[in-house]
Amino acid sequence: MSFFQPHVAKASQKHTLGPEHQPWVEKYRPKTIDDVSAQEHTVAVLRKTLTSTNLPHMLFYGPPGTGKTSTILALSRQLFGPDNFRSRVLELNASDERGISIVREKIKNFARQTPRAQAVASDGKTYPCPPYKIVILDEADSMTQDAQAALRRIMENYARITRFCLVCNYVTRIIEPLASRCSKFRFKPLDPSSTSSRLSQIAVAERIPVTDEVISALISTSQGDLRRSITYLQSASRLSMSTSPPSDITPSDIQEIAGVVPDAVIQDFAAALGIDVLSDAAMDVDDTAKPKVKGFDGVRKKVREIIREGYSASQIISQLHDVIIEHPILNARQKSRCALAFAEVDKALCDGADEELWILEAGLRVHKAVS
């Protein structure tokens, strides 16, 4: 009855098989729960479970890149040690087939096995190795309702020998009966200070020179998503290392990698929509732009240009939104009209509507609202 084992074995083998080209996200994944950045509350609770070796069913939720998967992996590694990890932990994520049949067969079979005897740890350390197994269901919010419903009774029946840990982004997509069986842990977006300390720690370990401006650019583009900022840092360092001679990382590199639309483009677009831009440089542009075609044709021309540049529509909308909402001169009514327009455009884009049409729509409505 070990048909699930090859998978688990391979998974952990991959983790250890680390060439120097490993992504930093994997390389610097916390080894112990004490290494997890910024989630003090959760870590404090989990540290208790390490000493008492009793674990409730758990539900981790929070935005991407806040350390949910890292925490549970680190915790189970600390509980069982590398040797028992394979036989005691079943990790399933959205890349595995997870329909109702898998819940009924694979998960149930794993859950009802009596935990095997503890193997002697080969590295000489002692691990608590409590007498239960852990099933990690990563990205649980992409499981179907039926599959979740099938888990309900399984979780209760085998609670003595198996603990479940559900990891998800949106707690609302987990059905209520499951959520009520778990103790919930919310992972909050990382605050700038812990992100920056983590990033500089990695930069030191990788021996790359990173300035404070770069770190702040990373923080502002990643918005509390640590994985994203680490990935950007790695890509930026790859780019800078590979040019000859190696150049330093600049904040604009980070912006380009992150797919952020340059401020100049957004300012230009805003000017075409009839919003007064603030900075001095932009003022000049605006003055020269006065004789340009305004109104419908002006807006449409600008939208076509931007679409040709290949920027992503949702990115344009969110940055334009920032410009307008923080604009000092526009009044509340104008701003709320714009916000309404942006909301509708965002919905349409999520539904997969045509980008050019909807950016144009946003542009026209903003134009109407501010004029």
């Binding site: 991407p64 994520n93 890349s95 992409s142 290949g310 134009h367």
Partner: protein, 359 residues
């Protein structure tokens, strides 16, 4: 005898004509041995696929050009069989999972797992990993994208993924944050002209300045279209004198403009029926409905009063979005046509529309 678009497609990063910075970056990444997952995005005809191929060549050498086409059969959990065409070489594999519609998750899971769990056996290979190129990544379903997430991290040692899409809006954030984003903008007019000149020189003739400019203006940033038009023109008329030439618009485009004319000329139930017949005609010729509505809206907007333009575009956008959610495209096209007609008529007779706007 292949089309010029294919014949003169750049094969290596050095041959690319524009976006020097991007090419330098790709070359550097390929040389560093530390190649990330990548996401190429940009408007169509901007050279995304060409750049991907060039990068692969830079990564693996000549071996990637030896392609074979495979047809694979996948089985869904409900025992349905799916046929998928796969293009592969020894070093990489190209798939278009959106071909199979909602079952793309199965294809992604199967193929990626298979690639990820086999190591590169060819010892002379330049890289230890294989590359999976996923075309039309923006039409992947949510499920398929979710399936990619963890795989991308877990199997990084054996596999890299290159996604190719028109926009990043439809990709979920976790995927975007795992990739290095590569924006491939459409070439500007000068760059396109250079490419046209280059192709013409390779074919042994020269393009008059005016003709080139006309072609570039018509193509609207789509280099593939520009080259196709150039070839077509050359076939029609060997000396390429600009006075004698007219760039033939595709039939459906003229047809759409005709529909736009009809809408503006007369607003009666009888005319709606005529328009409806034309719309059906367009749809049965496999012109995507969103392209139809966009082109007709463009045509209508040219001919109406300034104050109406914004409204017409507004409703075009709304009905276009509804079309995506809904099932039957023709309903929404017709609804839009009727809406435009009533807007136009009300404008003409000066009736105040404010009361009707919300319903």
């Amino acid at each position: 005898m292949s089309l010029w678009v294919d014949k003169h497609r750049p094969r290596s990063l050095d041959e690319l004509h524009y976006h020097e910075g991007l090419s330098a970056r790709l070359r550097a990444l390929a040389a560093s041995g530390d190649f990330p997952h990548m996401l190429f995005y940009g408007p169509s005809g901007g050279g995304k696929k060409t750049r991907i191929e060039c990068t692969l060549l830079e990564l693996f050498g000549k071996g990637v050009e030896k392609l074979k086409i495979d047809q694979r059969v996948f089985m869904t959990p409900s025992r349905r069989k799916l046929d998928v065409n796969i293009v592969q070489s020894n070093y990489h594999i190209e798939i278009t999972p959106s071909e199979v519609g909602t079952y793309d998750r199965v294809v992604i899971q199967e193929i990626l797992k298979e690639i990820a769990q086999t190591q590169q056996v060819d010892l002379s290979a330049k890289q230890r990993f294989k590359v999976v190129v996923i075309h039309e990544a923006d039409s992947l379903t949510r499920d398929a994208q979710a399936a990619l997430r963890r795989t991308m991290e877990k199997y990084m040692s054996n596999m890299r993924i290159i996604l190719c899409s028109n926009s990043t809006s439809k990709l979920i954030a976790p995927i975007r944050s795992r990739c290095l984003l590569m924006r491939v903008a459409a070439p500007d007019a000068d760059e396109m002209q250079t490419v046209l000149d280059y192709v013409a020189r390779r074919e042994g003739f020269a393009i008059p300045e005016d003709t080139a400019r006309e072609i570039v203006a018509d193509a609207n940033g789509n280099l593939r279209k520009a080259l196709l038009v150039l070839e077509a023109l050359k076939m029609q008329n060997t000396d390429l004198e600009s006075s004698a030439l007219t760039i033939a618009k595709p039939d459906w485009e003229t047809y759409c403009y005709k529909v736009a004319d009809m809408i503006v000329q007369e607003q009666t139930p009888a005319r709606i029926m005529e328009v409806r017949a034309k719309l059906y005609e367009l749809l049965t010729h496999c012109i995507p409905a969103s392209v139809v509505i966009k082109t007709i809206a463009d045509g209508v907007v040219e001919k109406v009063d300034e104050s109406l333009k914004a409204d017409i575009m507004h409703w075009a956008a709304i009905y276009e979005a509804r079309m995506r959610i809904g099932n039957k495209k023709i309903f929404h096209l017709e609804a839009w046509v009727v809406k435009v007609m009533s807007l136009y008529k009300h404008f003409f007779y000066g009736i105040d529309m404010d009361g009707f706007d919300d319903c």
